[in-house]
């Protein structure tokens, strides 16, 4: 979740940038996750589109997100090549489990078993 406090001394774009960075670092936002469009996030948070666009630009230049043309902005994989591939595979696995309606507990149990075997 993203929270914007209009009464805070920190500018909104900075609040947004820091929260996105924290969520990517903590893997709350997994690699490959699509971000909301600039217009949509601006409307949701009651911000000017330029404010959100500025936060996205800075996140992109810092390597946290990437823009794939008209498909939108996505969370970039972090770390070395192996970590990046692992994060992308985890994202694909999570998406597939969601499609199949498998609960997170069951999916985690299967992965743990597969990794142990």
């Amino acid at each position: 979740m993203l929270t914007i406090d209009a009464r805070s001394a920190t500018p909104p774009f900075e609040q947004l940038r820091v929260q996105f960075m924290d969520q990517v670092r903590s893997s709350e936002l997994a690699a490959g996750t699509r971000l909301p469009t600039v217009r949509r996030l601006a409307e949701d948070l009651g911000l000017a589109p330029n404010t959100v666009a500025r936060a996205y630009r800075e996140l992109e230049s810092d390597g946290f997100i990437e823009t794939r043309g008209r498909n939108g902005s996505f969370v970039s994989a972090q770390g070395d090549a192996a970590e990046q591939q692992g994060q992308l595979a985890a994202r694909a696995f999570a998406d597939r489990m969601k499609q199949l309606g498998v609960s997170p507990d069951a999916a985690l149990a299967w992965v743990t078993k597969a990794l142990a075997g």
Partner: protein, 294 residues
């Protein structure tokens, strides 16, 4: 119109009017919000009760009024057309019921797309990941609507090619309405998905997710109903006509398959609780906590 059709129209109108009275009864509002909370798997925070009550009432009122208007328009069209005088044609009854479903569906879309969101004061929250239609609509609704319309169009197309004289105008009209309502459904659900979700708390955002999911399901009901009813009406026309034994036998079998598929989809829908689809996809922690509590 025949006496049977007048009776069905009257019964539908009576049910809808009673529903309107219940929705307008102030004393029932809090209970109604709590009941909906149980259905969608969410608690009703005291701070949100009035805001939710007003939104839920507005949505239900619009839906029921839309259904009534749909019934009135269909009845008027049947009376003015002067054609229907055949009690044995099931398509006419389905056309009447379809008017109710289409009216409610259209009204749901209008409400979901035009209701002005109440902007929260102070802190604002938003989801950091994008949402998709799959987060709100179960495949039984999303794919089911397309399959139902596809079945209706296929039935009509084959019947018009092989035994065109057996297809009634009412059955063909239902299939055409199915196709139109599917186009409307595909546009409306995407517009709803693009609507902003201004929220001051996670509870408010979760409730908005729940209500937009319900609106999308209401809109899906029109193409699903018209598709299945249109397909069945065409197939029953061919089956009952009996001039071509081969076509008649094939249509009877196809009608049975369509009926059983619809029954299976309805059973699956009840088992998977589509109104809580959003909860499992977007709020897995809340869904898991509710499951543990139960």
């Amino acid at each position: 119109m025949t006496p049977t059709l007048w009776f069905i129209a009257g019964a539908l109108a009576a049910v809808l009017i009673v529903a309107l009275v219940v929705i307008l009864a102030t004393s029932r509002l809090a209970t109604s919000v709590r009941n909906l909370g149980r259905a969608v798997g969410l608690a009703v925070p005291e701070a949100l009760e009035a805001k939710l009550g007003s939104r839920i009432r507005g949505s239900r009122l619009t839906f029921t009024l839309g259904s009534l208007v749909g019934l009135a328009v269909t009845t008027a069209a049947l009376v003015l057309s002067g054609a229907p005088s055949d009690d044995e044609n099931p398509a006419l009854i389905w056309l009447l019921a379809g008017g109710v479903v289409a009216g409610g569906s259209l009204a749901s879309a209008i409400y979901a797309l035009t209701a002005k969101p109440v902007l929260p004061e102070g802190e604002r929250i938003a989801r950091s990941g994008a949402v998709t239609l799959n987060d709100y609509l179960d495949p039984v609704d999303l794919v089911g609507a397309r399959l139902a319309v596809g079945a209706g169009i296929l039935s009509l197309g084959v019947a018009l090619l092989v035994v065109p004289e057996t297809v009634s105008a009412a059955a063909a009209l239902i299939v055409v309405l199915a196709a139109v309502s599917l186009v409307f459904f595909e546009i409306a659900i995407r517009r709803i998905l693009d609507r902003p979700q201004p929220a001051g708390s996670t509870a408010e955002l979760a409730w908005d997710d729940a209500l937009r999911g319900l609106s999308m399901r209401n809109i899906a009901s029109a193409p699903m109903s018209f598709g299945v009813w249109g397909g069945l009406a065409v197939l029953l026309n061919v089956w009952l006509d009996g001039t071509s034994p081969l076509a008649s036998g094939f249509a009877g079998g196809a009608a049975l398959v369509l009926f059983l598929a619809t029954f299976a989809a309805a059973a699956w829908s009840i088992a998977t609780k589509p109104p809580q689809r959003y909860l499992r996809r977007l709020w897995p922690d809340v869904a898991a906590a509710a499951k543990t509590a139960n």
